[in-house]
């Protein structure tokens, strides 16, 4: 059994997020920063700027073709949401490897994560959360700990995937069996290293139970529900193909409508296909 400390030590070797993201985060801590300053930082990374514009103009955000510059994107979506999109793109690029372990492919992993991001935001919107800026990114990052295992404990992760195949169990249980802890714990540590905001960090840490403290509970519950829905709808592949039960406390506490899934199905699939294509291209 590997201990957590040795993996934590390895996490130190994880590349930091791209300059554009760290510059952006630093700039945002400065109360005197202007939108022009931020626009300059984002525009310095052309590939990221183009993808951000593609995403904000997709059906998912609903600004079809109306946002043609980064400064407009900031104006319509807010600085935090744009920063979060840059974060999503940065992390996907960081781990978009072609390497496959058994039947676990990063592209399928990201498709699952993108689906969870989309459903999380749709859940948030349906329960009328006022500030949705962290919803998409929390879904995208919820399983990030799996990629740390994947990247830094390859041999043991093959044991995890073999265990899943043989025992037909959830990947988190196989991880606990092999490592003694699962990807939610590891994801939490990565968030600490990357200084990810607390609400997103809680969603990563508690997405299996769907329950957290009152201040972040809506987001945590939304990610929990979205994770299970993405599994049920077979969107992407999270490392096992099982569908656990949603925690009743999670959907009751956020008062999710009983017909949420049937009402949002078409939109969900359309948004998933479009966003998946943009982010993974």
């Amino acid at each position: 059994m590997k201990n957590l400390n040795s993996l934590v030590h390895k996490i130190k070797a994880i590349p930091t997020l791209p300059t554009v993201f760290s510059q952006l985060s630093d700039a945002m801590t400065n109360p005197r920063v202007s939108n022009d300053d931020v626009t300059k930082i984002i525009s310095s990374d052309q590939a990221a700027s183009i993808k951000v514009l593609k995403v904000v103009n997709s059906a998912f955000y609903g600004f079809a073709g109306r946002i043609d510059t980064i400064s407009r994107a900031i104006m319509y979506l807010g600085l935090n949401e744009v920063r979060n999109l840059i974060l999503a793109l940065s992390v996907i690029n960081l781990f978009k490897k072609n390497k496959t372990l058994l039947n676990f492919r990063p592209s399928e992993f990201w498709s699952h994560s993108i689906a969870v991001g989309i459903i999380t935001r749709l859940v948030g919107s349906s329960i009328e959360v006022k500030n949705l800026e962290n919803y998409f990114i929390a879904g995208i990052l919820h399983d990030i700990g799996k990629l740390v295992f994947f990247e830094f404990a390859e041999e043991d992760y093959i044991k995890v995937l073999t265990f899943v195949e043989e025992k037909k169990c959830l990947i988190k249980d196989a991880e606990k069996e092999v490592f003694g802890f699962d990807h939610s714990t590891l994801g939490d540590l990565l968030c600490e290293k990357w200084k990810i905001p607390n609400s997103i960090r809680n969603a990563i840490r508690y997405h299996h139970s769907g329950i957290s403290d009152a201040s972040t509970n809506q987001l945590v519950s939304s990610v929990h529900i979205a994770d299970i829905a993405a599994r049920a709808l077979n969107l992407g592949y999270p490392g096992d193909n099982l569908i656990p039960r949603m925690n009743k406390k999670a959907y009751e506490s956020i008062k999710l409508k009983e017909d949420f899934f049937v009402t949002n199905y078409d939109l969900l699939i359309q948004n998933f296909e479009e966003t998946n294509k943009i982010l993974l291209s």
Binding site: I228, A229, A232, L242, R245, D259, F261, V262, Y265
Partner: protein
């Protein structure tokens, strides 16, 4: 696919594949309409002898789709660690099962066309 049939052969539930027009080209009944017993009477009144109806799926297609539906259900339920109890669980179950069926049918038709 559609076929031309005598109005005497019309059965309720058949779907009109082309609009029925009078001699002046005015549309009396639009295509896509599901025919009911009253339509047979109307055809007689209008002096219509033949109409075009959409072909139903062949019996084989229906059996094949039913088999696929059952197969999709079994596969889906094997992945499911619970049985639906609350309304929202029923909602997720139905939507997901329908998608599983659609995915399998489209995979099957794709394989068939290759």
């Amino acid at each position: 696919m559609s076929s031309l049939i005598n109005v005497e052969e019309v059965k309720p539930g058949m779907v009109l594949a082309a609009p029925i027009m009078n001699r002046y080209g005015q549309i009396l009944l639009n295509s896509g309409i599901e025919l009911m017993p009253k339509h047979s009477r109307l055809f007689k009144t209008w002096g219509i002898k033949v109409i075009t109806i959409k072909n139903e799926s062949s019996e084989n297609d229906i059996i094949e789709n039913n088999d696929l539906r059952n197969e999709a259900k079994i596969k889906f339920e094997n992945r499911l660690l619970w049985q639906p109890e609350t309304p929202i669980e029923h909602n997720l179950y139905e939507v997901s099962l329908n998608k599983a069926v659609k995915d399998l049918i489209s995979k099957f038709s794709h394989e068939k066309s290759e």
